[in-house]
C-alpha cells in the first residue's frame, strides 16, 4: 500500500508503474500519457483527455521535441525542458498525490527520467457555457453577464469590476474525493478580518467525500440551519451585485462548478432588495422597492388576514364589508385556502420538471381550466382564487427565492393558526414570526437588523433608494475596517 506522502521517484519506469496502478491507465480511456525521447532520455506527459486543451499540449510537445534539434547538453536536460514548457503557469511538485490531483483537474504532468519532481503545466480548458444573464435575476436595463460554472472565469468577471489591488481570492480545496475549488473573496482593507478568518476556518474543517451540490452543500456546513426555513446566506449570479457587496464589505464565497456566489453575512432585509432598483432613478427605485415590500407583505399576511375577516366579519370596518364570499361554499374556507396554496405549489413543481415546449400549454391549462372548472364544480369560490393568486404573485415578487419559500411556509402556519384560534392565532403567529427572525443569527450577524436591533441610518437606506453620490458610508453590520466609501470624505470630516 502506498501512503499519501509517497515521493516521486527518479526512475521513470517506477513512475509509470505507480501512475498506472493508481490511475488505471489502460482501463480509463481518457487518462493516458505520451512519451517523448529527448536527448536519449524519456519524458512522459500525462493528461486527461476532456480537460486538457489539445492545442496548448501540442505546442508544448513541439517545443520539447525541438530540443533534439537545438540542444546537446544532456546533463542540463531538466533545465532545458523546464525552459521549453511554454506556458505562464508552471509549477514543480514532489509527491505523487499532488501531481495526481493536478492531473485530474486537467493540468499536464511532466515526468523526466532521472528527476525526482514533476512539472505541472496549466493547460486546462473546462467545458462550459459563456456568461449569460441569470434566469432569476433579470433587470430591465443593465449588464447581462452572469457567473458561469468555471471559477476562473468568475474571478475574471469580478476582477473586471473591482480592479483594486486589495481584492483577494483565497483558494481552498474541499472534499476528499471531489477536491472542489472554493474561493473566499474579499477586499483586504474593508472586510472584517475576523469574519474572513471564521469563514476560512469553517471551510477548512469540512470533512466529506464530495460536495456534489457545490455551493448549497457547502452552505450547510458553514451556517447550521437547524429547523429554520430562513436563508442565512444570500446567493447571486450577477457580477455587478457581487461587486457591490464586495464594496460594502461583505465576504463572498465562490465554488467551482456553480454559478451561484454566496454572500455573507446577510440579513432578512438583504433578501428583499434587488439590483433592478439601482438601475433606475432613485425616486423610481424607491417606488419599485415599496411596491415590492407590499408584495412580500401580502404574500405573508394577506391570506390569514382575509381568512380572519371571512370567519369573523365583525372585525371588518364598515367601509370594507364587500370582502368575504357571498355564498356558502361546500368546503370550509380554511381548507379551501390550504388546498389552493398546495395547488399552486404543485403547479410550480410541475412547471420546473416540464420541458419548455410543453410548459406553455400547461400554463394555459392550469390558469383557465383548473380555475374555472374548480369554481363551477364547487370546490373553490372565486374570491379564494383571487386572494391566493395575489399572494402567490407577491411571493414571486420576492427577489430571493429561498425567502419566498420560507414565507410561504410561514403563511401556511398563519392560516392554520387563524383558522383554529381566530384573532389571537393571527396576532400571536405574527409575533412569533418576528421573534423567530430576531432570534436567528447568521455568522455573528443578527438576522433582523436593522429593524431589530434598530439602526435609523441603515433603516433609511432600506426604506428609500438612496442615490449613489449620497451613499457615504458602508453598512455597519459588516464591521468594515474602512467606513468611508468616497475617499475625499475622510479629509472633509
Amino acid at each position: 500500500m502506498s501512503s499519501s506522502k509517497d515521493v516521486i521517484q527518479s526512475s521513470i519506469k517506477k513512475n509509470r508503474e505507480y501512475m498506472k496502478d493508481k490511475l488505471g491507465i489502460g482501463i480509463s480511456f481518457d487518462v493516458d500519457y505520451r512519451t517523448i525521447n529527448v536527448l536519449k532520455k524519456d519524458v512522459d506527459f500525462y493528461f486527461v483527455n476532456g480537460l486538457a486543451d489539445t492545442e496548448f499540449v501540442i505546442e508544448i510537445l513541439k517545443k520539447v521535441v525541438e530540443i533534439n534539434d537545438f540542444e546537446q547538453n544532456q546533463r542540463k536536460l531538466v533545465e532545458i525542458v523546464q525552459n521549453r514548457l511554454v506556458n505562464h503557469q508552471v509549477e514543480e511538485k514532489a509527491t505523487y498525490e499532488e501531481a495526481i490531483t493536478q492531473l485530474l483537474s486537467g493540468l499536464l504532468v511532466v515526468f523526466i527520467d532521472g528527476y525526482d519532481q514533476a512539472f505541472i503545466v496549466d493547460v486546462r480548458h473546462y467545458p462550459g457555457r459563456g456568461p449569460e444573464e441569470p434566469d432569476t435575476e433579470r433587470v430591465v436595463r443593465g449588464a447581462r453577464d452572469g457567473f458561469t460554472e468555471n471559477i476562473i472565469e468568475n474571478t475574471g468577471l469580478t476582477r473586471r469590476r473591482v480592479r483594486d489591488e486589495n481584492l483577494r481570492f483565497e483558494l481552498i480545496q474541499v472534499g476528499e474525493r471531489s477536491k472542489t475549488d472554493v474561493s473566499v473573496v474579499y477586499i483586504d482593507d474593508i472586510a472584517d478580518p475576523s469574519l474572513v478568518q471564521t469563514i476560512k476556518d469553517k471551510i477548512e474543517k469540512v470533512d466529506i467525500d464530495g460536495i456534489a451540490m457545490a455551493d448549497k452543500s457547502l452552505e450547510e456546513f458553514l451556517v447550521r440551519q437547524a429547523s429554520s426555513p430562513f436563508p442565512l446566506v444570500r446567493y447571486t449570479e450577477r457580477p455587478d451585485v457581487a461587486a457591490a457587496h464586495l464594496f460594502e464589505g461583505h465576504v463572498l464565497i465562490m465554488v467551482d462548478t456553480s454559478p451561484s456566489v454566496m454572500i455573507t453575512p446577510t440579513t432578512f432585509f438583504h433578501h428583499i432588495q434587488h439590483a433592478e432598483e439601482y438601475r433606475q432613478v432613485p425616486i423610481v427605485g424607491t417606488f419599485v422597492r415599496w411596491v415590492r415590500f407590499l408584495g412580500i407583505l401580502s404574500s405573508i399576511l394577506l391570506l390569514p388576514l382575509w381568512l380572519l375577516f371571512v370567519l369573523q366579519p365583525e372585525y371588518l370596518p364598515p367601509e370594507l364589508s364587500f370582502i368575504g364570499p357571498q355564498e356558502e361554499g361546500n368546503v370550509p374556507i380554511a381548507i379551501q385556502i390550504v388546498l389552493a396554496d398546495l395547488g399552486i405549489e404543485f403547479l410550480r413543481i410541475a412547471a420546473i420538471h416540464t420541458p419548455t415546449a410543453v410548459s406553455t400549454a400547461m400554463g394555459l391549462i392550469a390558469a383557465v381550466l383548473i380555475g374555472e372548472i374548480a369554481i363551477e364544480v364547487g370546490l373553490f369560490s372565486p374570491e379564494i382564487i383571487l386572494y391566493v393568486a395575489i399572494s402567490a404573485i407577491g411571493s414571486y415578487a420576492t427577489p430571493s427565492y429561498e425567502l419566498s419559500v420560507a414565507n410561504k411556509i410561514c403563511r401556511i402556519f398563519l392560516v392554520i393558526g387563524t383558522a383554529l384560534f381566530g384573532l389571537p392565532g393571527l396576532v400571536i403567529g405574527m409575533t412569533m414570526y418576528i421573534l423567530w427572525m430576531v432570534n436567528t443569527v447568521s455568522l455573528n450577524t443578527p438576522y433582523f437588523w436593522p429593524f431589530i436591533p434598530f439602526n435609523p441610518q441603515a433603516m433609511k437606506h432600506i426604506l428609500l433608494r438612496i442615490s449613489v453620490p449620497l451613499q457615504r458610508t458602508r453598512p455597519s453590520i459588516v464591521h468594515p475596517q474602512n467606513n468611508h466609501r468616497q475617499p475625499d470624505q475622510k479629509t472633509k470630516k
Partner: protein, 159 residues
Amino acid sequence: MENHSSIIMKSIITGMFGAFIFGSIFSFTYFLTFTDLSHASFTLRPFIQDSWVDQFWGEIVSLIIIILLGAIPGYLYYATLKKLTGWLPGFVYGLVIWGIVYIGIGLLLPNIPPLNELGSDTIVTSVCLAVLYGVFVGYTISYDYHGERLDRKMSQNNE
C-alpha cells in the same frame, strides 16, 4: 466602544422610534377593531371628551404624545438592563411595560375597564405589541452597548 452619552442618546431615540412604529401598528389594529383600546384611550380620552378624539385625529395627536413618552422606556432600559444580551430581557421588559400601563395606569383611569372585562382580543393584541416593543428597545440597546457585536453564546446558536 462608543462613549456613554452617545449610547444614551441612541437609547432614547430608539425608544421614540419604537413608540412611533408600534404605536402606528396599534392604531391600525384599533381601526380594524382587533382591540377595543388604543393608546389614545390612555392619553387623550380620559381627559377630553370631544368627538374628534375617537377618530383619526385623536390617534395622530396621541401618537405624537407617546412618541415623546417613548423616550422614558428607552432610557430606563439603558439605565438598568443594558448589560444583558439577547432578546429575552426585552421580551420581559415589554411584558412589564404592558403590566404597568394596563394594570397600573389602567386602574387609575376611569374609562379603562378592569382586566377581567377586557376582551381576550384586546389583551392578546396589546400584549404582543408591547412585547415586540420591548424586544425592539431592549435588543437594540444591548446590541449597541456591546459595540454592535453579538456575544459568543448568541452566535453559537445557529452554528
